[in-house]
């Protein structure tokens, strides 16, 4: 490996711009007016090795430009992913392969083919995120290591050209500054500078750790990404929705059939006007305001082998009232109250003689398990010939059901009465009655509905949460290190009768200048000038 020996005797890695020790420019073009102090002019690890395949890959990822492009591409892809809805939000009964094309035409088809409909689990999207992670690691290593080296190797007496190349630089002419230098040193100590001295040269430095801020920050990001990665592994993260009707008991999805849940009842409480007099006006205006959403559940654990369809042997684990923000916790799972919906559970009908409007008996039909025949006594019987839980008419105008869910129930009744023993047929749907074979004498009159509440619960298990918290914390620590502290350095050299003073900071030049003002006040050493200011920048 080729190395560069500086005039001061220090040996620098190949590619170094400013000598790590004395700060002399090593580029051979002579000192420019202002030195570029980025990364202390150290050699980025990748810059000069381009020999093996590994080095080439390394160099590719060490480029910040590449990193930014990766982020831009990911942003664009994420943006495109919001144009049409993601797969989880499209109607469930239409396959995604047809939905997008049907609804959005060829752009929809393309969207589907390229996988934008399930963006976050596309392999190429994951690889993009992963490449950003690789870029983060390599970029950081490639810069942090040489920067650390350069800051460690820096010498107190910097070369003339280095001093002259600083943005804040000044010469005070005169004689015998010993007292003044002592005073400055005292002032610097008061400002908590660490002072090193060598051959009439002083280096005062503080806040070097703030230079590690961005790298600490990146470590936090990488831990964050690691947490996101872990979520893809089985057992680390579960997120399921459980729809469970009052009175129902079912397997909890996502637990491999190990746990069962029973919904005993759902409770919705609203604020009472009378109890809250102060709010009675407001409550009158807005109507009901929910006070509590609660599902009383029983948790069971399965005993013995699991065979789908079979009645599982269950052991009662615990009873619990799930409320918003008060989940049922068990094993590593938590079940939260998310939502509820009301569904039809039963319908009532009265058999009526049309002419006299005389009621002849009422039936109650369970929509989940309707009976075939209902006996009303006195020779009146009603039979359900057809049940359409999700009633609709097909292309030919014939009654059909769209699904097995009782969203819009309809029945074909056959009414047997003493004076019509052969039966009369009528189709009864919500708000409509059809008599397909002539005028009937009797009718089934709608007499009300019964509903049940379906609790919508969310099952969560997340073993990665603490990793995200840790990553976030480290991220924030890095951010504060870099934001609230500055790395400030002041070089003071007694060159013959004169005092040379140069200063550098990684940010907040104004603060540095203010500090110099206080430090130099009354010592007879002139405040150095800011050469960017002079140039009118």
């Amino acid at each position: 490996m080729e190395r560069i020996k500086c005039g001061c005797g220090h040996v620098n890695p190949h590619g170094t711009l400013l000598c790590e020790a004395c700060g002399r420019s090593l580029t051979g073009t002579g000192a420019p007016e202002l030195l570029d102090m980025r990364y202390e002019g150290s050699a980025r690890r990748s810059q000069t090795y381009n020999k093996t395949f590994i080095d080439k890959v390394w160099n590719f990822f060490s480029s910040v430009k590449v990193g930014i492009w990766l982020i831009v591409i990911t942003l664009i892809a994420s943006g495109i992913g919001t144009i049409f809805p993601q797969k989880m939000y499209i109607p469930q009964f239409v396959p995604a392969s047809e939905f997008y094309e049907q609804k959005y035409g060829w752009p929809g088809k393309l969207y589907y083919i390229l996988g934008f409909h399930e963006l976050y689990s596309q392999w190429w999207y994951m690889i993009l995120i992963a490449l950003i992670g690789v870029s983060l690691v390599v970029c950081s290593l490639d810069r942090a290591v040489p920067l650390f080296r350069a800051l460690k190797a820096q010498r107190v007496d910097r070369h003339e050209s280095f001093m002259k190349g600083q943005r804040i630089f000044g010469i005070t002419k005169g004689e015998n500054f010993d007292e003044a230098v002592k005073a400055v040193k005292r002032n610097l100590k008061k400002k908590r500078y660490r002072i090193r001295e060598e051959n009439h040269a002083i280096l005062a430095e503080k806040g070097r750790f703030s230079r590690w801020g961005p790298y600490v920050n990146h470590i936090g990001l990488i831990i964050f990404l690691f947490g996101a990665m872990l979520r893809f592994f089985p057992g680390m993260y579960v997120d399921e929705v459980i729809d469970i009707k009052e009175g129902e008991r079912k397997e909890i999805p996502g637990t491999d059939g190990e746990y069962y849940l029973e919904n005993k009842q759902f409770i919705l409480e609203v604020y009472d006007e009378k109890e809250n007099e102060a709010f009675s006006e407001a409550l009158k205006k807005t109507g009901d305001v929910a006070k509590n959403y609660q599902t009383d559940v029983v948790l069971y654990k399965r005993k013995g082998e699991r065979v789908p369809g079979a009645e599982a042997g269950l052991i009662k684990e615990k009873e619990y009232s799930i409320q918003v923000n008060n989940p049922l916790k068990f094993d590593q799972y938590a079940i939260y109250q998310m939502d509820f919906k009301t569904v039809l559970s039963a319908m009532n009908f009265v058999l009526v003689e049309k002419e006299t409007n005389e009621p002849l008996g009422e039936i109650n039909i369970s929509l989940d398990n309707p009976k075939m025949r209902y006996n009303l006594g006195n020779g009146y019987t009603v039979e359900i010939l057809k049940y359409y839980p999700d009633f609709d008419l097909d292309d030919e105008g014939l009654p059909v059901t769209l699904s097995r869910d009782p969203n819009n129930p309809a029945f074909v009744f056959e009414m047997y009465t003493p004076d019509k023993p052969e039966g009369e047929i009528s189709l009864v749907a919500i708000q409509q009655t059809v008599e397909p074979v002539g005028e009937n004498k009797y009718k089934m009159q709608f007499a009300g509905i019964e509903t049940k509440t379906v609790s919508i619960l969310a099952l969560r298990k997340d073993l990665t949460l603490w990793i995200f918290a840790l990553g976030g914390l480290i991220f924030l620590i890095g951010l504060s290190l870099g934001s609230y502290w500055n790395h400030r350095r002041i070089w003071i050299q007694q060159r013959g009768p004169d005092i040379w003073l140069a200063a550098h900071t990684n940010k907040n030049w104004y603060g540095l200048k203010r500090e110099l003002q206080t430090v130099l006040a009354g010592t007879g050493i002139n405040e150095p000038e800011d050469r960017n200011e002079k140039k009118g920048k």
Partner: protein, 175 residues
Amino acid sequence: MKKNRLFMRTSILTVLAASVILTVYANLTKGERPQLKVGDVAPDFILTDLNGNKHRLSDYEGQGVLVNFWATYCKYCEKEMSLLEKQYQDQKDQGVQILAVNIGETDLVINRFLEKHELTFPVLNDRKQEVVDAFGVNPLPVTFLINKHGFIAGIHTGEITDEKMAAEMIEKIKP
């Protein structure tokens, strides 16, 4: 030192590449629903038919089993029932069982359907939809051919369109 650096870089890049590949792989294999393939062991189940008899898939070991998932509101399902019935009548004594699993409609609806179509093979009702989930059924109809050792020998999604097709299915799982 140069070798050292190459070693460091190689190991860092290897660790990064390995975690990327592992993550992508874990994501691809993470099944939302188990997708059954030909050659897999068919998931066992116990369901009751509409006459109240229990059927357990593993009890049919030694016979071929055709498991057809259907619903009354699925027109293609309705059409293929007669083909299945014919095969059932022809093959009954040759060791092939046919089980039609309804995806959990009400007994009333299924019974009315059976009054219209006389079917002699067992019609099961998967009320809790656990079997539907275990087989990853979507869309309907879908027919699973299970051989005498309990392995899946064929999966047909969509309608069984003619007699020849039905006969070939049965032929596949004849013990």
